[in-house]
C-alpha cells in the first residue's frame, strides 16, 4: 500500500491510463452524413449498455477570460430542453439508469448506463439536448453557485490542489492547459447565460461529437438507432478548429512552493513537458509510457526501490504519464518524504535516479516487467465496458484512431531499453520541468 498521489488538477477527467484496448467483439467506427462519429464496443456478457457522447472541446478551448465555461455548460446541460423542460434525469432514473458527465482539458462527455432495451431512449434524450437546450437566468444563477461550491470543495479547502494549480500554470505559461478545468474563481463568477449559449452554439454540433456505445449491442443496430435520433440533426459547418497557442521550448527549470498551516505531510512533485500520443513522433509516446512505468509503476519500480526501499527518503513515490492529450502534455513524478527528509534532499535523490537512468543500461527484467504489466492492462480493461468506453472516447477525442488503440499493445511490446533510455535523456531534462514543494507553514521562511 502507498498513500494516494496528489494528482494534478485532473479531478474532472476520467482517470484513464493510456492503455488497454479491446472489447469482446470487433470494434467498429463509422460516421453519419451529418458528421457524427459512432464507435461500438460489443460486450455481450451482461444485458447492459454504456452510452456516451463526447464533444471534442474541453476547458483548453475556453475563450480568454471565460475560463470554466466548458465545465459550467456541462452542468447546465442537465437543465432542460423544449422537449424535456425539466431535463431528463428523472426519466433516466425511472428506467434504472445511471448518468453523469465530465469535463476535461480536451473534451466534455455525457453518459448513461442502462439496461440495453433503453438504449434508444437514451439516444433520443442525448440527441435532443445536442440542439434543444433552454436556459434562463433562474436556472443559470444558482448553478453558477453550485460550480463555485465545487471549486471550493476541490481546491479552495485543499493546499495540495492549490499547489497543483500553480504547478500547472507554471508548466503552461502560454498554452491553456495552464488553466484549471473548472476555471479560475474570479472568472467563474462572471459567467452568464449568454456565455453559456454562445459556447453551446459553437461546439455542440454533430460533426464535433463522438458517440460511443459499449455493451450488449451490435454495430448495425446502434447505427440504425443513431440515424433515427442523432441522424435527424442537420449538419452544421465544419467543427470549429481548435486553435490553441503552443508552448515554446522551455529553457528554465521552475520551482513553485506553497506553504500552508494546514499542511502536516510535505509533498514533492515534478512535472515535465513532454509529447502526447497525438503529438509524439512514432514510438515516442509508447517509450514514455514504458519509461514512466519503469520509473514509478508500483513497488518494483526504480524510484520506489531507490527512494522508498533503499534510501528511505520517501514513504511513497509514483509516476504518471498523461499521454492521452491533444497537445504536448505532462509526465509527472510525485513523492512524499519520510520524517526528517527535506524536499531538497528528495529532489536531489530524484536527480540521481534520473542521471543513473540515462547513463546506465536499463535492466532487461525491469523492462520486460513494465511491458508485461502495461500490455496486461489492455486485457484487464476488457472486463469493464464503462472503462473501455472512456478509453475509446478519450483517445478519439484527442485525435487518435481505433487502429492506434488496437495496435497499442504491440507498440508497447516493441519498446526497447534503448528507446526508453533515449526518451529519458530527451524529455526528463530538468529545464523542461516544474517542481512543486508542498510545505508546512513553519518551514517556509
Amino acid at each position: 500500500m502507498q498513500p494516494g498521489p496528489f494528482l494534478p488538477e485532473n479531478t474532472l477527467t476520467p482517470s484513464a491510463p493510456a492503455g488497454g484496448r479491446q472489447g469482446t467483439g470487433p470494434i467498429t467506427h463509422s460516421t453519419l452524413e451529418n458528421g457524427l462519429q459512432i464507435v461500438v464496443i460489443p460486450d455481450h456478457r451482461t444485458p447492459v449498455v454504456t452510452h456516451m457522447v463526447w464533444y471534442q472541446n474541453g476547458s483548453a478551448d475556453d475563450p480568454p477570460g471565460k475560463s470554466g465555461i466548458a465545465h459550467f455548460l456541462e452542468h447546465l446541460m442537465f437543465k432542460g430542453t423544449k422537449a424535456h423542460p425539466k431535463g431528463f434525469s428523472d426519466l433516466v432514473a425511472e428506467l434504472g439508469g445511471q448518468e453523469n458527465a465530465f469535463t476535461a482539458y480536451d473534451y466534455t462527455a455525457y453518459f448513461q448506463r442502462v439496461a440495453k432495451e433503453h438504449l434508444a431512449t437514451m439516444m433520443g434524450f442525448e440527441a435532443d439536448r445536442m440542439t434543444g437546450l433552454i436556459l434562463t437566468d433562474d436556472i443559470v444563477t444558482p448553478e453558477r453557485d453550485v460550480v463555485l461550491e465545487e471549486r471550493r470543495m476541490r481546491t479552495d479547502t485543499d493546499p495540495a490542489q492549490q499547489l497543483n494549480e500553480a504547478v500547472q500554470a507554471s508548466l503552461f505559461p502560454h498554452h491553456p492547459y495552464g488553466t484549471p478545468v473548472i476555471g479560475w474563481g474570479h472568472e467563474i463568477e462572471t459567467l452568464d447565460r449568454s456565455d453559456a449559449l454562445t459556447y453551446y452554439e459553437r461546439f455542440y454540433t454533430p460533426a464535433n461529437a463522438i458517440l460511443i456505445v459499449a455493451g450488449d449491442v451490435d454495430a448495425a443496430e446502434v447505427e440504425r438507432l443513431a440515424r433515427e435520433t442523432y441522424g435527424r440533426i442537420p449538419a452544421r459547418e465544419k467543427p470549429p478548429r481548435r486553435f490553441r497557442p503552443q508552448e515554446p521550448e522551455p529553457r528554465a527549470h521552475r520551482l513553485v512552493t506553497l506553504a500552508d498551516a494546514k499542511v502536516e505531510q510535505p509533498a514533492h512533485e515534478r512535472v515535465f513537458l513532454v509529447p502526447s500520443y497525438t503529438t509524439a513522433a512514432p514510438g515516442e509516446a509508447e517509450a514514455l509510457e514504458v519509461l514512466t512505468h519503469l520509473l514509478g509503476g508500483g513497488h518494483t519500480s526504480l524510484l520506489y526501490r531507490e527512494l522508498v526501499v533503499e534510501r528511505r527518503l520517501a514513504v511513497a513515490v509514483g509516476a504518471y504519464y498523461m499521454g492521452t492529450s491533444l497537445d504536448a502534455t505532462r509526465l509527472w513524478i510525485y513523492a512524499m518524504p519520510t520524517p526528517g527528509t527535506s524536499l531538497e534532499q528528495l529532489d536531489e535523490a530524484l536527480d540521481v535516479v534520473f542521471a543513473h537512468l540515462v547513463e546506465h543500461a536499463i535492466d532487461q527484467a525491469d523492462l520486460q516487467r513494465a511491458r508485461t504489466r502495461l500490455v496486461a492492462d489492455a486485457i484487464y480493461a476488457r472486463d469493464n465496458q464503462a472503462s473501455l468506453a472512456r478509453w475509446y472516447g478519450a483517445s478519439l477525442a484527442t485525435g487518435l484512431t481505433i487502429e492506434d488503440i488496437a495496435l497499442w499493445p504491440e507498440r508497447i511490446e516493441a519498446v526497447t531499453a534503448e528507446d526508453a533510455q533515449k526518451a529519458a535523456r530527451k524529455w526528463l531534462d530538468k529545464r523542461r520541468a516544474v517542481t512543486g514543494f508542498l510545505l508546512p507553514e513553519a518551514v517556509a521562511a
Partner: protein, 426 residues
C-alpha cells in the same frame, strides 16, 4: 454472466455455483470464459473492531503487510513475483472485516493463487517493510489531519460511538501507530484467520473443480473457528448535538447522521427506498433538489444507510461556503422532518422502486463488481436466492410501509452534526 444480470428472463442465482472444496471450504462461483481473467474476492470477520483500544490501526497494518513478503520471498521478491505476471493482489481492513482482492490473467491462475496462499499463511512481517508500511500509514494520517472531510468524519465517528470500537480510527492514530508490535499483528492474524467466517466469491475463466482444489491450497490450513472479541451492538449517540471544528477554509464541510436500519433488518428494503427519496439517489433526490438545484448551496449532498456488523447508521454529507452553511443544514433538517412526518408521495415511491429495481443489473457488469456483490451477500447471511428475490422485495414496498419505515428511520429528525470550517451562525 449473460443470464446473470438478466433477472427478468432467467434466474440470476441460477448462474452462480456453490462450490465446496474437498476440505469443506465454500465459494460462490460465476464461471465465464469470454475474457481470459479470473477475479477472486474474500473476507473474514475481524477488522478494526478487533484492534486493542490502545492500538487502533492494527488490522489495517496487518492487511497492508500481507503482500510485503511471504514464505521464501522478501517484500521485493514478492512484489516482483506479482508484477512479473501482472497479478493484482491487495488486502484491506474496515471496521468488521479483513478482505482480499485478487485478479489475474487466466494463464497465471496457478501462480496467483500460490502467491495468495503464501500471503495468507506465511506472511513474514519483516522489520523493514513493517516500518515502511507504518510510515506510509503515518503519512496518510498526517495528510488528512487538516482535511475538512477527514476531520468531519473523525469528529463524527468519535461522537457517534464513544467508548465503542466503532468510535476508533480504522487507520490508526498518529500517537499510537508506533506502539503496534509484531506480537499484536501475529495475535490478530491468529485470532481472525479462520474458516468459519470466511466468505469467498470467484468470477471468470475458472471451473469449479480447479477452484475447489485451489481453495484448499489457499485456505485449507486455517483453523475452523476464530477467536474474536465480542463487539457489542451500538447506536449513534449524541443525537441533537452539533460540533463545530474550526478550520481556516472558505467552505464548511458538514457531516450528519442518526441511527439507521440494518441490512439484516426485515424493514431494510423499505428503508433503502425511503433513503433513496431523501438523498440516496444521485441527481433526483429531495436533498439534491432543495440544497443544490434550487438554492445552489452545494455541489455534493447525499444521505446513505450504512450497516456495520453491530450498528446501522443513516449518514450524509455536504459542503457549503461558510456564510450559507447554516442554511444548508437547516434545509437538510427540514427535509428529513418533512419526509418523516408526511412520508413520500405515491409518485416518488413509484420512481424510487423503478430506479432501484432497474439499476440492480448495473452492479453486475464486471467480474470484480460481481465478486464483491457475492461476498457482500454472504457476509449479510443471504442465500443465493436473494439475487432473484431482491427486486421483488423492492417492488412489494407499499406507500403505507414506506411512510411507517420512514417514521422509524427519521424519528424526530434529531441529528448528530459535525461541521468543519468557519460556519457563520452555527
Amino acid at each position: 454472466m449473460r443470464a446473470f444480470a438478466e433477472a427478468a428472463l432467467s434466474s440470476r442465482a441460477g448462474r452462480v455455483q456453490r462450490v465446496f472444496s474437498p476440505g469443506g471450504i465454500e465459494a460462490w462461483l460465476v464461471e465465464e470464459h469470454t475474457v481470459p481473467l479470473v477475479a477472486l474476492e474474500f473476507s473474514i470477520n475481524g477488522g478494526a473492531s478487533q484492534d486493542a483500544p490502545s492500538r487502533p490501526g492494527t488490522a489495517t497494518l496487518l492487511a497492508g503487510l500481507l503482500d510485503e513478503g511471504a514464505g521464501p520471498h522478501d517484500a521485493e521478491a514478492f512484489h516482483r513475483a506479482l508484477d512479473d505476471k501482472a497479478i493484482h493482489l491487495s488486502f484491506s481492513a474496515d471496521r468488521d472485516h479483513i478482505s482480499g482482492h485478487l485478479q489475474t490473467l487466466e494463464r497465471n491462475t496457478e501462480a496467483a493463487f500460490d502467491l495468495l496462499r503464501l500471503a495468507l499463511n506465511e506472511g513474514r512481517f519483516d522489520p523493514k517493510p513493517t516500518e515502511r508500511v507504518r510510515e506510509q500509514m503515518v503519512a496518510t494520517l498526517k495528510r488528512d489531519l487538516n482535511d475538512p472531510e477527514a476531520m468531519a468524519n473523525r469528529a463524527f465517528r468519535a461522537a457517534a460511538f464513544p467508548d465503542h470500537p466503532y468510535g476508533r480510527a480504522v487507520r490508526g492514530e498518529l500517537a499510537t501507530l508506533p506502539s503496534i508490535t509484531r506480537a499484536d499483528l501475529d495475535d490478530l492474524r491468529k485470532r481472525a484467520f479462520a474458516r468459519a467466517t470466511l466468505k469467498i466469491a470467484a468470477v471468470g475463466a475458472i471451473d469449479a473443480a480447479t477452484l475447489a482444489r485451489l481453495l484448499d491450497e489457499v485456505f485449507g490450513a486455517w483453523p475452523e473457528l476464530p477467536e474474536l472479541v465480542t463487539v457489542p451492538a451500538t447506536s449513534v449517540a449524541n443525537l441533537g448535538t452539533r460540533r463545530v471544528i474550526e478550520l481556516d477554509v472558505p467552505q464548511t464541510t458538514i457531516r450528519f447522521g442518526r441511527p439507521g436500519i440494518h441490512r439484516r433488518d426485515p424493514e431494510f428494503i423499505p428503508a433503502m427506498v425511503v433513503n433513496y427519496i431523501l438523498g440516496g439517489g444521485g441527481l433526483t433526490t429531495r436533498l439534491f433538489h432543495e440544497v443544490r438545484e434550487k438554492r445552489g448551496l452545494a455541489y455534493s449532498v447525499y444521505s446513505q444507510i450504512q450497516s456495520f456488523e453491530r450498528a446501522a447508521m443513516l449518514a450524509g454529507s455536504t459542503s457549503t461556503k461558510n456564510e450559507r452553511a447554516a442554511e444548508s443544514l437547516a434545509v437538510i433538517e427540514s427535509e428529513i422532518k418533512l419526509l418523516a412526518s408526511q412520508g413520500p408521495s405515491e409518485a416518488e415511491l413509484d420512481k424510487a422502486k423503478k430506479y432501484l429495481t432497474g439499476s440492480y443489473a448495473l452492479s453486475f457488469d464486471t467480474s470484480t463488481k460481481i465478486a464483491a456483490q457475492l461476498v457482500h451477500l454472504q457476509q449479510q447471511g443471504f442465500d443465493l436466492s436473494y439475487l432473484d428475490e431482491r427486486n421483488k422485495l423492492v417492488e412489494a414496498v407499499t406507500l403505507a410501509e414506506a411512510k411507517r419505515v420512514g417514521e422509524r428511520l427519521f424519528g424526530d429528525g434529531a441529528l448528530l452534526v459535525t461541521a468543519v470550517g468557519r460556519p457563520a451562525g452555527m
